[in-house]
């Protein structure tokens, strides 16, 4: 088997928060606290979790917008933290992003052709005629006629803008696209389009996705594997369908129980978690989830569970197993 496209190993990201004026006793926000995962070429990994669990920090680390406090991120076998100059620029060409809100991620003062063409110019230095041809191709890929290139973003609806953002992310022949909640801001009837579009693009171009979302059904639909994150740690990683059918970690179970039914008579195991996600500044000792866990044992507050592989491809961090 080839090496995975992206390999994240024991990555931590701590943010210091200003303590007193003289810097004594600075507290740390442990946004990402030792996570490991891999993404193969042409594969989609789903990353789910509630707000504040470190999903977005993880995406920034992958995008090399933040450097990890510890651990390593390897892309095509090379450590991203050590990339410099042209190599780093090439990494940024190959790893692109689509953000949640298409209203703030496209510049209102640029024409669509320039928005999509700018990364091509910046990275490849090709002639403007070539850029125009590539832009036309990309627009067709996401279902527009090429002549929309002269329009401005305000002439498009939310779903259309998100398609433009996808075209921009693909403009530099990216190998990995980080999708940070790409459908959360869209209407239900439009979401399905964007998800289907992302699927067909992946089938055509073989690009990999890191799909970050809180909509479990959408994640399970688009990703082959899903990773569940809680307070900076991965608590469970498994094949998406396996995870839906047999969630093992109590937090994953609660997440699935909390996802809404698709029809009125759907029976759901009711697990209503008490309390809210604790602060990442001072996370609970032992298993981070134990204060809210309905199955917590004395051991859970003392010893932190490791992420162990229970069956092929199904890893879980819980003392119950």
């Amino acid at each position: 088997m080839d090496k995975p496209l992206l390999e994240v190993r024991d990555v931590q990201k701590y943010f210091p928060i200003a303590g007193s004026l003289f810097g004594a006793r600075r507290a740390l926000v442990k946004a990402v606290d030792g996570i490991s995962f891999t993404i193969d070429a042409g594969e989609t990994l789903g990353l789910v979790g509630e707000s504040g669990c470190g999903k977005t920090t993880t995406s920034k680390l992958v995008l090399a917008a933040e450097t990890p406090t510890a651990g390593s991120i390897e892309f095509e076998g090379r450590n991203v933290a050590q990339l410099k100059g042209p190599d780093l620029k090439d990494y940024r060409r190959k790893v692109q992003v689509v953000f949640q809100d298409p209203y703030s991620s496209l510049s209102p003062r640029m024409r669509v052709g320039d928005i999509i063409g700018e990364p091509i110019k910046a990275h490849e230095g090709v002639s403007s005629a070539d850029v125009r041809a590539r832009v036309a191709e990309l627009l067709e890929l996401v279902g527009f006629r090429p002549d929309v290139a002269r329009l401005f973003p305000h002439e498009f609806s939310g779903g259309q803008r998100q398609r433009l953002a996808i075209a921009r992310a693909l403009s530099t022949k990216a190998r990995l696209v980080v999708l940070d909640e790409p459908v959360s801001a869209l209407d239900v009837s439009i979401r399905a389009h964007i998800i289907s579009l992302l699927e067909s693009i992946q089938a055509r171009l073989g690009v990999s996705y890191l799909f970050i979302a809180h909509d479990l059904a959408a994640v399970a639909h688009l990703s082959r594997r899903t990773a569940v994150m809680y307070l900076g740690k991965l608590v469970e990683v498994a094949e998406s369908l396996e995870l839906c059918a047999r969630p093992l970690h109590p937090y994953t179970k609660a997440l699935y129980a909390a996802s809404l039914p698709s029809h009125p008579d759907e029976a759901r195991e009711e697990i209503v978690l008490s309390g809210e996600v604790p602060s990442a500044i001072d996370p609970p000792r032992g298993c981070h989830f134990h204060p809210r866990c309905p199955f917590a044992m004395p051991r859970c507050s003392e010893q932190e569970p490791a992420l162990v592989e229970l069956s092929a491809g199904h890893r879980v961090a819980c003392h119950l197993y």
Binding site: E50, S51, S157, G159, Q160, D187, V188, S189, I190, R191, A192, H193, I195, S196, H214, D215, L216, A217, A218, A220, H221, L241, C244, A245, A254, L255, Y256, A257, A258, S259, L260, P261, S262, H263, P264, D265, E266, V272, L273, E276, V277
Partner: protein, 328 residues
């Protein structure tokens, strides 16, 4: 039994500069809500669901006007009431929960002040009785140690807690009906479940009716007894929840149901082609026809009227799903 709230042929338009642009946000909406039931109002953004709610409590933006129709609360028409009279109705008989709890709580007043206000004005409680009522309301929405927390300010609370406080405020005047406009959109999934469970419990305890405005059909499936689906300012289908999920009659409802990914099932998703229409420039005939796979010639020219379904409810379509004989 007479309905608690009856909305009849309500039309609310936004009129732009010098009447050049008329946005028909609510265009002939009729429905009724019985005491103690949960009524869902579903639709995509811009379909007029929020304007409908604002019209009911008469809190419309200055550019919006109720053009015609009746809103009857326990037999009284709210459309003809003055704002002074409405002030004695809002909070006491109809309460609202809005989407963004940070914007609906005043950052300069303590939780106690904000929860106590409706009970002070509408129930005339004072002193110890008022304090007891606030504690009881905070207890009911499961705020831990209410005696201490009632001295706090909104910024000291998390998003889920703030939304629960808004829930407590809506209960404080002892209303018969609560309009909840996308109350869980800003909450995380596990917090959302907590909140929905809480609303159900409150409803069971007080017998209050709920109008649940949402774009999320999952919430409808979990919470509602009857549902109205809105599209371009009109109710296109009104049915019991089970009827809607098992036997949708309007092509738009069917398409909405098909566009949601189902957990653990990997079947192709069918989105709805095209965009929701511009409410200032609606297509002729049925507003949905440009996006409808079943459209016939008649849909392009004539607007369908609501047709009663044999069980209960109605559908606005020339060719509803499941009765081919009804075509014209």
């Amino acid at each position: 039994m007479a309905a608690l709230l009856r909305v009849e042929d309500l039309r609310t338009y936004y009129v732009g500069f010098r009447g050049t642009r008329v946005v028909k946000a609510v265009d002939g909406v009729s429905f009724s809500v019985e005491a103690g039931e949960t009524f869902g109002l579903v639709g995509e953004s811009g379909c007029g669901k929020t304007t409908t709610c604002h019209a009911i409590v008469r809190l419309l933006a200055p550019s919006a006007r109720i053009v015609s129709g009746r809103i009857e609360l326990e037999g009284e028409d709210l459309v003809t009431k003055s704002q002074g009279e409405m002030r004695r109705i809002r909070g006491r008989r109809i309460a609202t929960i809005l989407q963004d709890p940070m914007a609906s709580l005043d950052p300069l007043f303590s939780i106690y002040d904000q929860v106590a206000e409706p009970a002070y004005y509408h129930q005339g409680l004072r002193g110890r009785a008022l304090r007891g009522r606030v504690r009881q309301l905070l207890d009911a929405v499961r705020i831990p140690s209410p005696e201490l927390r009632m001295k706090d300010y909104p910024h000291q609370m998390s998003g889920g807690m703030r939304q629960r406080i808004v829930g407590a405020i809506s209960q404080a005047g002892g209303p018969r009906i609560i309009i909840a406009d996308e109350p869980t959109t800003n909450l995380d999934v596990t917090i959302q479940l907590q909140y929905l469970t809480l609303l159900k419990d409150l409803q069971r305890a007080t017998g209050v009716a709920l109008i649940f405005v949402t774009h999320n059909l999952g919430i409808v499936a979990k919470m509602c007894d009857r549902v109205a689906v809105m599209y371009a300012g009109k109710i296109v289908e009104l049915q019991s929840v089970r009827g809607l999920f098992y036997r949708p009659r309007h092509p738009y409802t069917r398409a909405l149901l098909d566009s949601i990914p189902k957990l653990g099932v990997r079947q192709p998703l069918c989105g709805i082609p095209g965009q929701p229409p511009d409410l200032a420039d609606l297509p002729l005939g049925c507003s949905f026809h440009p996006r409808c796979a079943r459209a016939i010639d008649r849909c392009l020219s004539e607007e369908p009227k609501p047709v009663a379904l044999n069980g209960e409810g109605s559908v606005r379509c020339w060719l509803p799903i499941g009765d081919a004989a009804a075509s014209g």
